[in-house]
């Protein structure tokens, strides 16, 4: 039984049409006109316990709407959701006990009080037993280094410290599922690394299912083994990250530094897409040619002083998926 089961989920909003001008305003008071907007059109997926899924899409795609329905904040227009066997919007409180949520930009901690007090309050709200509370606090303090600022008021914490405290707070009650909305936004490189390490550990040690919504593709690449991509309220892709790369990521870029000898660079098995002085960028399809094929072609006319082969980033793959539109073939999810 999947821990999250979503079937034919649909959510539409009624938005009031706004009229301009005085007559229009009067008209709208008399007879309100509504436009229906379908934020989520027909989404189905299931997630197994312990998976780390990246839930991504452009702004306005319907990501946060879906997450809100999964966490019980929003009621779907139609379709079914089951989270750990519970229907979130029907059994909000039961569902709340099983989930942890981190909203990247908004903290759930009490702003003016020392950090530790937020944890104590959450312990009360979620009815965490004293012993479990102690255990968790010890673990989190150790891994995330909370000790240095537990007595500092939240409003005085740096962004990195606050995010660490927020994620620890979301796990205090041992939820089975963790929803992360932009957990690394605004963090510096080191802080991001630490955050990702922690999420990975929690997933490995406690088998917590993680749903990650982010625009940071490195988060996805480093943490998730599965990616669900939605656009315009519909699922565009659902599958392995590796499969995505192999299916869409056929292109490679060879960057060579050559000795200038006044001759043009001729590459028939690739495409010269950019040059800056001595440096040339050549794209080639690795299904058709290997890097060495391209290199040997170049060495016929030029001496190479330095070279690198670049793999495509998830980011460019994803934008290509958007451009290619709704894909009918889905790579099946590996169990």
């Amino acid at each position: 039984m999947a821990i999250i089961e979503v079937k034919n989920l649909r959510k539409e909003f009624k938005i009031a049409k706004r009229e301009t001008g005085f007559v229009g305003a009067l008209k709208s008071v008399m007879n309100r006109q509504f436009v229906t907007k379908e934020a989520v059109k027909d989404i189905s997926f299931s997630i197994e316990k312990g998976e780390m899924v990246g839930y991504i899409g452009p702004n306005g795609a319907g990501k946060s709407t879906t997450i809100k329905m999964l966490t019980g904040i929003l009621v779907p227009s139609s379709g079914s959701i089951q989270v750990n066997g519970i229907v979130p919007y029907e059994n909000r409180k039961e569902n709340a006990k099983n989930i942890g949520v981190v909203f990247g930009q908004r903290t759930q901690l009490w702003w003016d009080l020392p950090t530790i007090e937020s944890f104590e309050l959450l312990k009360e709200i979620y009815r965490v037993s004293y012993s479990r509370y102690q255990e968790n606090m010890e673990t989190f303090t150790e891994i995330l280094g909370l000790g240095e600022f537990l007595n500092t008021p939240v409003r005085q914490l740096s962004l990195g410290q606050r995010m660490r405290a927020d994620i620890a707070a979301s796990l205090l009650h041992d939820p089975d599922i963790l929803f992360l909305d932009e957990p690394t936004i605004g963090l510096d490189v080191v802080a991001k690394e630490k955050m990702r390490e922690f999420i990975q550990e929690i997933n490995t040690l406690r088998n917590v299912t993680v749903i990650l919504t982010t625009h940071d593709m490195e988060d996805i690449e480093k943490l998730c083994n599965r990616m669900i991509l939605i656009d315009h309220g519909q699922k565009v892709y659902d599958g392995d990250i590796a499969a995505v790369k192999s299916r869409y990521g056929k292109m490679r870029t060879l960057i060579v530094d050559v000795e200038e000898n006044g001759r043009d660079l001729q590459v028939s098995n690739g495409e010269l897409c950019k040059q800056e002085g001595n440096r040339k960028w050549i794209r080639f399809n690795r299904d058709e040619y290997s890097a060495s094929d391209v290199i040997s072609q170049i060495t016929k006319t030029h001496n190479i002083t330095d070279l690198t082969v670049e793999e495509p980033e998830i980011e460019s793959i994803i934008s290509r998926i958007y451009q290619e539109g709704f894909s009918k073939e889905e790579v099946p999810v590996k169990m």
Partner: protein, 269 residues
């Protein structure tokens, strides 16, 4: 039963946090108390000047007027402490911070209510208690047990009526984005209106403040009972219904709020 005890315990924990948070800003806290006492004293002074030449307003003399006013201030004080932040619900929703309350395993109304406990409103008590003592002396009121219990009931009723109205106003935030202005445009003037005996207003107004937005029960009707004043158009014992009116009004307000919440959950914001 057990659940109620749990919720009470949790309420005190949450509220304690709110108070500690407020105490972090000590100067602001003191200034607020000073400000409140000053503002209310100001109104009292205005009343004194008003009655200097005219002696009575609608058959209420200065001390009686002051008593009426102090009773309103007393229950408003408790109301501020418990409910005033409800008027800013629209800000919480717009900032997205309200959703946080929906993701926790406790009743969202309870959670929102427990988030703030504005102890700075204590200035109101200083003012009211002082006035009560002064006026009781001047009017020779004897505070037997019956009167004290009645006053107690009146304050509870008054808190529930005013709190209920704040809850109603905050519920508007679930339908439109700007609800706070309804406080300033409706509740604030209404509170001022009821600082003076309702008898002086047109019948229509008296009727509305008795049965639609029951402000009359916050201070006028109970004061009329305590001071033995006549209440034209209404039976003189109407003040005894204050606690009941408060409870009913608040319960209705609560259900409207929860209705708004379910609308919020299906329509977003």
């Amino acid at each position: 039963m057990k659940k109620i005890i749990e919720y009470v315990r949790l309420y005190f924990r949450l509220v304690g946090a709110g108070v500690r948070a407020q105490m972090q800003y000590r100067f602001a806290f003191v200034m607020r108390i000073v400000g409140m006492v000053a503002a209310y004293t100001g109104t009292a002074v205005t009343m004194w000047v008003m009655l200097y030449q005219f002696e009575e307003l609608g058959e209420w003399n200065f001390y009686e007027l002051l008593f009426l006013f102090a009773l309103a201030v007393l229950s408003w004080g408790f109301c501020i402490i418990l409910f005033f932040h409800f008027r800013s619900l629209d800000t919480y929703i717009v900032n997205g911070t309200f959703d946080r309350f929906l993701v926790r395993p406790i009743n969202p109304f309870f959670h929102f209510m427990a988030m703030k406990f504005d102890i700075g409103a204590a200035g109101q008590f200083i003012f009211s208690i002082f006035v009560f003592i002064w006026v009781s002396n001047a009017l020779d009121i004897h505070w037997q047990l019956g009167k004290i219990l009645f006053l107690f009931g009146a304050v509870i009723g008054g808190v529930l009526v005013q709190g209920g109205l704040l809850v109603f106003i905050s519920a508007i935030a679930f339908w439109t984005t700007k609800s706070e202005r309804f406080y300033w445009v409706v509740m604030y003037p209404a509170r001022n209106l009821t600082n003076y005996p309702l008898a002086i207003y047109p019948k229509m107004v008296q009727w509305v403040t008795a049965f639609v937005i029951p402000f009359g029960f916050v201070n006028y009707f109970p004061a009329a009972v305590l001071l033995n004043k006549e209440t034209p158009y209404f039976p003189s014992y109407i003040g005894y219904f204050t606690p009941l009116v408060g409870i009913v009004f608040f319960i209705v307000a609560y259900y409207v709020w929860m209705l708004g919440l379910s609308r919020y959950k299906s329509a977003g914001s």
